[in-house]
């Protein structure tokens, strides 16, 4: 499992990709990447789950806490690339109501 990190200069969006799992063992790494970028002045974030296997409740929890932090500084967070299984997790926990979710990273970028 690993995270990819790039900046879409045209839109000024930090794009993070979750390759593998977002779970209890690696969630802090994702959180720290976003917090560091916030410290550097970044305000727009896209997390792409197109290459993600599964997410656990700790992973969902980190997304909730990041969403709060980004909102507090008037930033914007979008999620994209959720397959049916992953989307079900957001629906079951009603977190789909808390996040801006797009089908694909391209669609999400266009929406910023």
């Amino acid at each position: 499992m690993s995270f990819t990190f790039r900046k879409d200069e045209a839109k000024g969006v930090v794009v993070l990709g979750v390759d593998g799992q977002l779970i209890v063992g690696n969630r802090h790494e994702l959180k720290q990447k976003v917090l560091d970028a916030l410290d550097d002045g970044e305000r727009k974030f896209l997390i792409d789950f197109a290459s993600t296997g599964y997410i656990d409740s700790s992973g969902l929890g980190v997304l909730v806490s990041l969403s709060k932090k980004i909102r507090e500084v008037n930033g914007e967070l979008r999620l994209a690339g959720l397959n049916d299984d992953l989307r079900t997790l957001f629906e079951l926990t009603k977190l789909d109501s808390l996040f801006a979710i797009n089908e694909s990273a391209e669609e999400a970028l266009a929406a910023f």
Binding site: Q21, I23, G25, Y54, S57, S58, L60, L92, S97
Partner: protein
């Protein structure tokens, strides 16, 4: 981690169907959760349970049960272990996760989908397990959870 797999194929005359048992002793370490989940899921897949159930529902549910056992059960004490035992039959997959903690009362866990709890960063583990598997049972002490996925 110590994994042992016992297969009983073809079925003994007194058994109604074939049965595969997998047991795994997991250290109290959050870093090994993913590997333990993969190991169990791979053996379940090899036993022929539907790939989607093994790939997703089983993985997420087992991941939750293991982290709960490590964090809340064993309270991160490296001297303690978590025991996982899986029984795959023709009709169901049953996964039991037991820690060495004092147990808890599952009825005391609040609904994480309540509007006032929606933005909390914790408290969704047991809820997800209940949503993803067909049956959930606890022992009386509350330190062992049994999760059952029907194969039908």
């Amino acid at each position: 981690m110590r994994l042992s797999v016992r297969r009983s194929e073809p079925p003994p005359p007194e058994a109604s169907d074939r049965q595969i048992e997998i047991s795994l002793r997991v250290p109290t370490d959050l870093e090994v959760v993913e590997e333990a989940v993969d190991l169990v899921a791979r053996h379940c897949l090899a036993s022929g349970i539907p790939p989607r159930a093994a790939r997703f529902r089983l993985r997420v549910a087992l991941c939750e049960a293991l982290s709960n056992a490590i964090v809340y059960g064993n309270r991160m004490d490296p001297a303690k272990r978590v025991d996982v035992s899986v029984v795959v039959t023709d009709t169901a997959v049953s996964v039991q996760v037991r820690d060495e903690g004092d147990g808890f009362d599952p009825s005391e866990i609040p609904d994480p989908t309540r509007p006032d709890r929606l933005e909390m960063s914790e408290g969704r583990g047991l809820f997800l397990i209940r949503q993803l598997v067909d049956e959930v049972r606890f022992n009386e002490r509350g330190n062992s959870i049994c999760m059952i996925l029907h194969r039908a």
